[in-house]
Symmetry: C2
Subunit: 205 residues, 2 copies
DNA sequence: GTGACTTTTGTACAATTGTGTACAATGCCC
DNA sequence: GGGCATTGTACACAATTGTACAAAAGTCAC
């Protein structure tokens, strides 16, 4: 394993490889090649070989990669060979959809709580979770040692929520609010905004 | 305006700039600088100046950029100075959340229909829309000249749905299913998968 | 009204980062 | 043991980002 710093752009591609490999595994595929994987994810075979070889020699020349083995290695590298507890802030449409989404568990994540500040919503259910008062969020995060949160509140409240999350010890935030938030060094943020993705495509239409 | 081909990576940043500018405009800010905008979106001022200057000289030296003017120009460039009709395929949790989301209209998009193949769901409502039979989708898309669709069906059905969409004339697809889909040259796909975003962050935890 | 001062753009050029090409090395198959 | 497939990587090339500064445009003091 090459101990030098790995570029983030490579880290960003690993989940894509992992996702494709897991689908192959479901289909019963036991061995694949950089060529085959590349066709699935629309990335050049050379790129894939180079990315993977950053972390070790996981393939066999002439033979390709053992799918189960590569999945295992990628899960270790990405630290999803465990289950991370995640809290959701905001119980609107997005919060509800996230709370009910079944696709997290087998990919390394588990929603454990959902918070809102609306007295109308607190105590009601979202998926299998009782919506809790956001006033108790910091305490909950500290007590449970939560490191990951999703923000699903209106843009106007997102920065404030982010501050509280960071204050309580969260290190990774997935932000559904359509606004950039600022966080201290060492805290990671990823954004999901369908509109920015759509706008990126209309340029070409 | 520089007529040469603009790199996609620049196009990808424009919606981020636009989003931040629109928030400034809401706050009543009339003029900004590449420095200020850069701080908001966490991109260097030089990068922003260079990106924007690809399309024209929209700033004034010493003065910065007029916010309303730059918004107008970015909307033209991204072709969101109009409203695009969008269809949603899949009326599960994600489809419902998307159908009810209020954030599309003022950013260039309008959901016009939602389709599913489940007889239990067809005829019921999702947001303000009656869920339609996916069997009528191609006809609808052709009749209305729809160019943009969102896929919110299970991974196992995503490729088939994509094929139908492309066949009917769709040129831009936002895919919520956690799987890569392949489309012909000239059709654009963007992906939204919260898990890949989360996995990209756990590497650093 | 003029000139010195400040700010900030747009861009040339340099440096860095990322991708593609090509091939020696390896390992299976027959 | 020859043939074939495919990895891992050296090297070349391309794309992206950062640095630095001349040019422009406003402000202000007098």
């Amino acid at each position: 394993m090459n101990a030098e710093k790995i570029p983030d752009i490579i880290i960003g591609r690993l989940p894509i490889y992992l996702r494709a490999l897991q689908r192959m595994a479901e289909r019963g595929v036991q061995v694949t090649s950089s060529k085959e994987l590349g066709e699935q994810v629309d990335i050049s075979a050379a790129q894939i070989r180079k990315d993977i070889s950053q972390f070790g020699e996981f393939g066999k020349q002439g033979m390709g990669y053992n799918v189960a083995f590569l999945i295992e290695k990628l899960r270790e590298i990405l630290k999803v060979d465990r289950v991370w507890d995640v809290v959701v802030v905001g119980a609107g449409d997005i919060g509800h959809a996230v709370a009910r989404y079944q696709g997290f568990t087998d990919r390394g994540f588990r929603i454990v709580a959902i918070f809102d500040n609306d007295p109308e919503k607190i105590g009601k259910k979202a998926g299998n979770f009782v919506i809790q008062d956001v006033a108790h969020m910091g305490e909950y995060i500290r007590r449970e040692g939560i490191k990951i949160a999703m923000i699903a509140v209106p843009a106007s409240a997102a920065q404030e929520v982010a501050n509280e999350l960071v204050e309580a010890g969260v290190k990774a935030i997935l932000n559904y609010a359509p606004i950039n938030i600022s966080v201290p060094e060492g805290v990671h943020v990823q954004y999901i905004d369908p509109v920015t993705h759509l706008q990126r495509m209309t340029y070409y239409l």
